[in-house]
């Protein structure tokens, strides 16, 4: 193998930001036709390294070699011209344009600088699709495509620009297991055709499945390179985090009691006035975690918003601990014992410019001991903040720094510390670990189980099917606004649930299925 000239070699890349060594003499090579996985926690230096490769950052030391020749990459357009292409985690597609228009967007190497040669473009796109095993209609509007197909459009965009080296940044984050398998097939085909792929992910089993080699970064350094055959998930996780990590949460049997949350015939409209939640019946019992699995955009957001008071349902009834709370405001829900970790923590969960202590009392600032009448008790707030910081191990220089300066994991811990404490009856967790590193995920999962064991009802909504499978005592599958099936968590079949998520159909009525209560 050593005699093959690598398609890409990064040698001794070092990048310092004030106070942080983001990349510390990182060396990485990518062989032609290889799928090379890059693993690491948030802040391990993956982004910095890829930004350097893409010409967005200039390394302080080290060199980049393409096909054995040292090069300087001056910026994204230079990188593209040299055959390096990035497929981003958040799709950079314009929904109202067609597949072809999206692919042509920003294409500056056209023969005719004024008019688009649509016919020729369509022909090339169709041909590329055929070659790599996914035929796509170039005239389809991107908004009409599923996420899995949008992912393919992103890849097609790179191929259209004649990329030889593809960097995929968490390409499977929003895909169902079936879609992931399909994308993997595409990637293997690309590799077989001689394309080289850098695959960034923190789903360990995926990396083991798709990669030819795995390089693990921790705190700006390469801490190990492994072949999939000679490693496993535990080994990789330990490399990433630097200590032993419990990947699967130890959770004992659940002992559910009576229902805490009862939802009957709930209907909710989305922002455009279309019905997003259709006649949902749901029970969450004390001492159990009910997970809702579903492809993003199947009504989960609207359901959560209706249950937490952020959105008014159009019909149906919501009962919390025996009390009718249908259409009540968030404050009333909070006082009835609901705690809520919102999916979009920057939009709902935190006030980023505010200090940590203010964020820790965001939902309780108005009641004793944090306020006496209309006057805030700064001392009580500070003291509670310091307690929460030590209890939940929030890494922050003090309770007075803006919460925006904390890392994502610690920001989420601020929300968890705020919402998990005190006397709660129902805990609604919406994407509680999105974008977090392994250590933070482990922490939050343990806390959720602890609340369950303490008798709280927990409703978990997550786009990560693995998270739902791992934590839930029961799993409700949501498809186009309806709960299409409920499965027992322990015995749930991942394939079947993936199918239900994607199509709303079960193959055959399963013996394990419970009636939707």
């Amino acid at each position: 193998m050593a005699d093959v000239t690598p398609a890409l070699e990064m040698r001794g890349i070092t990048k310092r930001y004030p106070g942080v060594l983001a990349n510390d003499h990182i060396s990485l090579d990518l062989r032609p036709g290889e799928i090379h996985a890059l693993l690491g926690e948030n802040g391990a230096g993956k982004s910095t390294l890829m930004n350097i490769l893409y010409g967005l950052a200039v390394p302080d030391e080290g060199e980049i070699l393409l096909d054995g020749t040292a090069v300087t990459i001056h910026g994204p357009s230079d990188a593209i011209a040299r055959g390096i292409s990035m497929v981003h985690q958040h799709f950079m597609l314009v929904p109202v344009l067609t597949v072809a228009e999206n692919i042509l967007l920003g294409e500056e190497t056209m023969a005719n600088p004024i008019f688009l040669d649509r016919k020729e473009a369509h022909r090339r796109i169709a041909e590329l699709g055929k070659r790599f095993g996914f035929e796509i209609d170039p005239e389809a509007k991107v908004e009409s495509l599923s996420v899995g197909w949008q992912q393919r459009v992103e890849i097609l965009k790179a191929l259209y620009r004649q990329a030889r080296i593809l960097v995929l940044d968490e390409p499977t984050a929003v895909l169902t297991p079936q879609e992931t398998a399909e994308i993997f097939a595409v990637l293997r085909r690309l590799a077989a055709e001689g394309h080289s792929i850098i695959f960034i992910s923190h789903k360990l089993y995926e990396v083991l499945e798709i990669a030819d080699r795995i390089t693990v970064l921790r705190r700006g350094k390469v801490v190990g390179t492994r072949l999939p055959a000679e490693t496993d998930e535990d080994d990789l996780a330990e490399l990433m985090v630097g200590r032993e990590v419990q990947l699967t949460v130890d959770r004992g049997e659940s002992h559910p009691a009576g229902p805490v949350l009862e939802v009957r015939g709930l209907r909710v409209n989305d922002d455009r006035g279309r019905e997003a939640v259709r006649n949902v019946d749901l029970d969450v019992r004390a001492g159990e975690i009910l997970g809702i699995a579903g492809v993003a955009g199947n009504g989960q957001d609207e359901l959560v918003e209706a249950l937490t008071g952020l959105r008014k349902p159009t019909a149906g009834k919501v009962t919390l601990d025996g009390q009718d709370v249908t259409g009540h405001r968030p404050r009333a829900m909070n006082e009835a014992g609901l705690r809520f970790v919102p999916g979009d923590r920057h939009r709902f969960g935190l006030v980023l410019p505010f200090p940590v202590d203010d964020n820790l009392v965001l939902t309780s600032y108005y009641r004793p001991p944090y306020a006496k009448g209309f006057v805030r008790d700064e001392e009580a707030i500070d003291e509670a903040a310091r307690r929460a910081i030590s209890e939940f191990d929030i890494r922050t220089p003090s309770e007075h720094v803006p919460v925006s300066t904390l890392s994502g994991g610690n920001q989420q811990k601020v929300i968890v510390a705020r919402e998990f404490g005190g006397d709660l009856k129902l805990l609604v967790l919406d994407q509680p670990t999105r974008g977090l590193d392994v250590g933070s995920i482990e922490f939050i999962h343990r806390q959720a189980i602890a609340r369950r064991d303490a008798g709280a009802a927990v409703l978990l909504v997550s786009a990560e099917l693995d998270e739902v499978l791992e934590l839930s005592d029961r799993i409700a599958i949501m498809y186009r606004g309806e709960i299409v099936a409920i499965r027992v968590g322990r015995t749930a079949d991942k394939e079947e649930i993936g199918l239900l998520m994607a199509t709303g159909q079960r193959d055959a009525p399963s013996a394990e299925s419970e009636p939707v209560s």
Binding site: N42, S47, L310, L350, F354, T363, R376, F443
Partner: protein, 394 residues
């Protein structure tokens, strides 16, 4: 993955520490003023050909020194008292106006309507003051002030309610209300409130509703005290009360405010009413303390200057006091500057406008003085530039 180097969960947070090196929030405003005076001195030099006939390199310095002297920074005790009193009297309405705009900024609202709220408050106090002129002094004054506050608050309530209930942008509605306020003055002062026996259209004498002069014959009227009192009250409201926390949360992140169980609609209406009240109070004090009547073509720019004051003071009550004192001093000293050096008083307006320019285009200031952007980004400016497309706040 974020593009900036994050720290892992186990590491201490070097990033957090680095970013929190607390650069004084006043850096950009102070340097903007410095830069404005430098640009101002260039203007003085260039225009000195027309004003004094030749270019005199020492002219900017002597002009600024005269400005300071007029504002009370001088060794002559009587001139100093005179100048300082003048500075305070000029600064007082700017403090209230600055608080009006600043409070709105804290709620994420851009109150361009301080001008209209000021005018309507002034009109209400002039009309009411004339009507109760024969009442006992304290009562007459209280009623006249109250009328100004209520009128100003109403002029703030309307755009607040329109914003909260229909989503109408406050910038549009307050500008409209500024024009309406000027028109209402023209109508009322020439009609229902017109006093007889004067050679021009004006409201009647205030009589007992006139604010007393605090000491001697100087024009330090009782209204200056209102500004002094308002500052700690507004500070306490914003930073020590739960209501202020709700206002600031709504301003910083309206979605999080809703999540936290606050009522953004109520808070927007409340804050705009409070902003109107403060501006109306400023107008009331100007009428009851200084002009003592209102004429049909009453003109002022205090409402608009208040926007500059609020921006320069970073929407913080203490910062607003400093900003208002600066502008007050410039107004107090401009006359002496013109007498002594022949530089027209209007240079003060020019410098004030340049300050606003540098605050708005803070990138220039950061470049010139090599301040790294980041922590001190002016949140108020985002309020100025952003436009809600969200419609009504639920």
């Amino acid at each position: 993955m974020s593009a900036s180097p994050d720290t892992s969960i186990e590491a201490p947070e070097p990033k957090a520490r680095r970013r929190f090196s607390p650069r004084p929030a006043a850096a950009v405003p102070v340097l903007a003023v410095v830069l404005a005076f430098i640009v101002g001195s260039v203007l003085i030099l260039v225009t000195s050909l027309a004003t004094v006939g030749h270019i005199d390199l020492g002219l900017p310095l002597s002009a600024y020194l005269a400005l300071l002297e007029g504002a009370g920074i001088t060794t002559d005790p009587s001139a100093a008292v005179n100048g300082l009193v003048n500075t305070m009297v000029q600064a007082a309405p700017l403090v209230l106006g600055g608080l009006s705009v600043g409070v709105a900024f804290k709620a994420g609202l851009f109150n361009i309507g301080a001008q209209g709220q000021f005018l309507i408050g002034a009109l209400a106090s002039a009309g009411t003051g004339a009507a109760v002129a024969s009442w006992p002094g304290p009562l007459a004054i209280a009623v006249a002030i109250l009328a100004g506050c209520v009128a100003g608050a109403a002029w703030g309530f309307v755009p607040g309610a329109l914003k909260a209930l229909t989503g109408a942008h406050e910038v549009v509605t307050t500008i409209m209300l500024n024009t309406i306020a000027a028109s209402v003055i023209g109508w009322l002062v020439t009609g229902p409130l017109l006093a007889t026996g004067f050679s021009f259209d004006r409201t009647g004498d205030l009589g007992n509703a006139t604010l007393p002069i605090l000491f001697g014959t100087r024009n330090l009227h009782l209204g200056v005290l209102a500004s002094v009192v308002a500052v700690p009250i507004v500070w306490f409201l914003l930073w020590r009360s739960t209501l202020g926390f709700e206002i600031r949360t709504t301003g910083a992140n309206p979605s999080a405010a809703r999540y936290a169980g606050m009522r953004p609609a109520f808070l927007i209406i409340f804050t705009m009413s409070l902003a109107g009240l403060l501006a109306g109070l400023a107008g009331s004090m100007e009428i009851l303390g200084i002009t003592h009547f209102m004429n049909a073509s009453y003109g002022t720019s205090i409402g608009f200057d208040s926007i500059t004051v609020a921006l320069l003071g970073r929407a913080h009550p203490v910062g607003i006091v400093f900003a208002a004192l600066l502008f007050g001093a410039m107004r107090a000293g401009a006359g002496l500057m013109q007498i002594k050096t022949g530089i027209p008083v209007e240079i003060v307006d020019v410098i004030q406008a340049i300050v606003l320019l540098f605050i708005a285009a803070d990138v220039i200031v950061r470049r010139v003085f090599r301040i790294r952007s980041g922590g001190t980004g002016l949140a108020e400016l985002q309020t100025v530039t952003k436009s809600y497309g969200e419609g009504a706040v639920r």
